[in-house]
């Protein structure tokens, strides 16, 4: 079995290079047989795509998808420089 360090690196690389995700900002932590995905994305579909790609890159491990959605609010107070 690969060391967790290499599994995490492989998943992170897959998320960055897989055409379905091209996602550079997701943190990947491997603990035992579990993978934790953390970060923020703009659409719910992307959350699921990222989970799919992670699962394919680390088959047999259970994936915990803790990715949240970026909330884009109305612009707030302007800043006077």
């Amino acid at each position: 079995m690969d060391a967790p360090h290499y599994v995490a690196a492989r998943v992170q690389r897959a998320l960055a290079e897989d055409e379905r995700t091209v996602e550079l900002g997701i943190r990947v932590d491997v603990r035992g047989s579990q993978i934790f995905l953390r970060g923020r994305v703009s659409a719910p579909e992307r959350r699921l795509l990222i989970e799919d790609v992670a699962r394919e890159a680390a088959p047999g491990l259970s994936v915990h998808n803790e990715i949240t959605l970026v909330e884009v609010r109305e612009p707030g107070e302007e800043e006077h420089l």
Partner: protein
């Protein structure tokens, strides 16, 4: 006293699935701001199709739109085509050059480009060793040189630098320090500090912090969507 109101955002990362989602959030922007700056990573994969989505979201806004590309916009080697599509939609796309406009009686000069990495003073790469390393650092240095020249040629009331990569570490706080060399370079700040500017706007660092300062005292703002949490944020500068 008149004010120049600068709306800014970066890392909108549009794709076909987000078509029509961004434009409604710009409704009424002309009442809040005089110009919109977009600091790169307009797309996810840098495809022509995604470029068309971005162009449609920004087309015919009631205020001028100035943009630069980001690293994602280069991913499919279609950066020239994306630039053309954006320009056809009326967006001014800066590639290490300046644009000047008159807003509320004051002149605004914007120097922009995507910037690049290399790291920050004392903890950065240098043009030494393998050709690949030298090429990496040279790319940033040449960009900084072009920004320096473009700023030098500007004689406007306000001067802004629009980048994708960060010129300072301040606005990267929250990102892992190990990846700082891939998030920006002090060479970009150095060019602006030498020639002077009122504001530097950038994106790229989704986990970073909004506010920072160059060593020379220029205000720096990271306007990546995940950082500002809104479709844009507005900075006001007093008149000439």
């Amino acid at each position: 006293m008149t004010q120049t109101r600068i709306a800014a955002v970066a890392d909108i990362h549009m794709g076909e699935d987000l078509r029509g989602h961004f434009r409604p959030k710009l409704h009424g922007i002309e009442h809040r701001a005089d110009v919109l700056l977009v600091g790169g990573d307009l797309t996810r994969h840098g495809t022509v199709a995604e470029g068309r989505v971005v162009a449609d979201e920004l087309r015919d806004l009631p205020i001028p739109v100035i943009a630069v590309l980001g690293n994602h916009d280069y991913h499919s080697d279609a950066e020239q085509a994306i630039t053309s599509i954006m320009r056809d939609a009326g967006v001014t796309v800066l590639d290490d050059e300046a644009t000047v406009m008159s807003l509320n009686g004051a002149t605004l000069g914007v120097v922009g480009g995507k910037g690049f990495g290399g790291g920050f003073a004392g903890k950065c790469a240098s043009e030494f060793g393998e050709p690949e390393t030298k090429a990496f650092v040279r790319h940033t240095r040449q960009i900084a040189d072009r920004w320096r020249q473009a700023l030098h040629g500007l004689d406007t009331d306000h001067r802004i630098v629009l980048s994708h990569y960060s010129p300072v570490k301040d606005t990267l706080m929250g990102e892992p320090t190990e990846i700082y060399p891939f998030l920006g370079s002090y060479l970009l700040a150095e060019a602006a500090d030498e020639e002077g500017a009122d504001l530097i706007v950038h994106g790229h660092a989704h986990l970073g912090t909004e506010k920072g300062l160059t060593p020379g005292g220029i205000q720096v703002r990271n306007v990546a969507v995940p950082v500002i949490g809104s479709a844009y944020t507005v900075y006001c500068m007093n008149g000439a």
